[in-house]
Point group: C2
Chain length 346, copies 2
DNA sequence: GATTAGCATTCTTGAGTCCAGAGTGCTAAA
DNA sequence: TTTAGCACTCTGGACTCAAGAATGCTAATC
């Protein structure tokens, strides 16, 4: 689809104008409208010619014969690419962000609020994911006997993520302490994955010569005290109601909202598109490959990092008709803030 | 509105039939339709007379002159009241519930899944709230130094709720341990509210003779390590997308979804209507008094308790046109299951 | 050769009309 | 007390119609 002759200056300008007008109004844009708002006084006819070329090249689409043109995914990609990225956030937006995120030192709390803030200032869906996957480094564990048969297991990752669970176990506190000490001394700094593998190996190997300690550890392990699978990720999705205005088709709206409720899918989506390596804001146009219900939607996201550690991702999901410049600026601003605020305390 | 002559047997029967037909079809129901499905062969005309009476008494409303009748809130209340409550859950639903909730010992996890299950089997919005308010009894606290300037504070309530926060503080682990010991020894079993009051009193009083211990405690206190305000409640809302089908008005749908995103409002709503004392399932018809956007919506909820402790609430929110019998049965079933499963381990 | 004016043509959209269908209320008969 | 009959009301879908917005093409113009 992204074929055809290379785009010249005039084509570029007109394409940009079309994208911007369409984003602003939502209506297919015609040659006449365009001619009016054009700086150089090009006539509608000329513009029509250019538009025909752009359509041939796959940048424009026509809902029906006598409607204006609508940008294709390819057009949005092109548009985003040529954005300068120099824009800065309005005073007002900066205020909203500062007010909500100031003075937070808890990663999860930061992420929860961030998803909210993102949805507020983008008027779309704000999403944050705190990575809780097997790649995380273990900081320490803590076990505490609660009732007759209950044990509280708290697991802290180096990234500052805390996961707690109440297990059904009946072990004296002394044994729990011993088990915690054992794990903390042996596995601090290991990835969850490696820790689990090694632990399971040792449990297997030493099965014959089990002592009290290993019995406790095994029980805790079996009960999932050290679980850190994909499902352990923490996801915040906020602002789904913002989509009601945009999506006309009832059926599709429902599917859309339903998809957003499936946290697991969202994690996969972000995981697939936002790899941790790349630094800056990333724009993915056309999410339907990953999620069919997300046709005509885009993802604008950035990794959330503190220093060199990736703690998760921040993103906005919205229709292709989203305000790219503004949203990109906001996402990038918050991503930087994330680093800054949480770094202060390191 | 709920006035007029007492309802006789025939009226009762017809009113019930109207409510049930309306719930099933969603269309205003007319005398003709009703006459067809009526056991005793009453003629449309007779039914019309009864309907006129019921309308006078405030049980029926008319969208416009020549449409059928629609049940009023009063009619739903009456309908719910005369439900036998004897119905039992289908095998299939029981299966779904058991599969999702089996073997969970963590209150929060149970609640999270429950909200999902409730939305699944009611085809509406499932809501659970774990009480985290000031009335909760403290079980114990635990502090752990994380990094240079970070402290993890874990607070466990007697109800089994765990709340963790990372604070920005720089205290050696020894001091943290001392502070935790102090709080655990002095305040275990106190309500959060009482604990906070007493603590703040002592801090005030002994300000002059501060020792190392009290300094640590004060710092922790100030940083919110012991916070347990309303906002600390944990709320799970699931299945909002189910409302898309039901609500026709775009504007209202948006408001509705927006309201459901405001967790705080939801907590208040449940708090206002589901007082902990009453045992069984409660049905509240007409939520617009509390939340204007919830006109034409009902709440079907029950307290979530383990033994005598109230841990929160379970509820379904849906349109007045909800399947009352089924939803009530489901809510009550899960409420009992909650007690049963979590009690096993006490 | 690039640009533009002119024009026939296509397609959407909203307004207006019309009619069948469903339901009501009332009166009079059973 | 119940029911049949009937005039009347209101909605909603089908249809038509005209205005408006765009287009593509051809021929004239710079």
């Amino acid at each position: 689809m992204p074929s055809g002759p290379p785009i010249g200056e005039r084509e570029r300008e007109i394409l940009t104008a079309i994208v911007e007008t369409f984003i602003a109004t939502g209506d297919p844009v015609g040659s006449r409208t365009l001619a009016r708002s054009n700086r150089e006084g090009l006539s509608p006819a000329t513009i029509r010619n250019v538009m025909a070329d752009l359509a041939d090249a796959g940048y424009l689409e026509q809902p029906h014969t006598s409607a204006g043109r609508v940008p294709s995914s390819e057009a949005y990609r092109y548009y985003v690419e040529q954005l300068t990225g120099k824009a800065s956030l309005s005073q007002e937006d900066q205020g909203i962000i500062q007010d909500s995120l100031h003075g937070i030192s808890d990663v999860q709390e930061f992420m929860e609020r961030t998803s909210h803030v993102l949805s507020l200032i983008s008027h779309n869906v704000g999403i944050t994911v705190a990575v809780g996957g097997p790649k995380n480094a273990l900081e320490h564990v803590y076990f505490s006997r609660l009732g007759d048969q209950k044990v509280l297991a708290v697991l802290v990752t180096r990234a500052g993520l805390v996961r707690d669970r109440v297990l059904r176990l009946d072990l004296p506190q002394a044994d729990l302490d011993a088990a915690a000490r054992f794990i903390n001394e042996n596995f601090r700094g290991w990835t969850m994955e490696a820790m689990r593998t090694e632990l399971s190996r040792r449990l297997e190997q030493e099965r014959s010569e089990y002592d009290r300690l290993m019995t406790s550890v095994e029980q805790l392990y079996r009960q999932g005290a050290l679980a850190a699978d994909e499902t352990a990720q923490v996801v915040f999705v906020e602002g789904a109601s913002n989509l009601v205005t945009g999506e006309q088709d009832r059926q599709r709206l429902q599917e859309l909202l339903h998809t957003l409720e499936e946290k697991q899918k969202i994690v996969e989506l972000l995981g697939a598109y936002l790899d941790a390596k790349q630094e800056a804001v990333r724009v993915v146009i056309g999410l339907d490959e990953a999620l069919p219900s997300m046709r005509n939607f885009v993802l604008i996201g950035a990794p959330a990092r503190v220093g060199d550690d990736v703690m998760g991702s921040l993103a906005v999901i919205g229709p292709t008709r989203i305000d790219y410049q503004h949203t990109m600026t906001a996402v990038s601003y918050i991503a930087r803030l994330f680093d800054k605020i949480l770094n202060e305390s390191e």
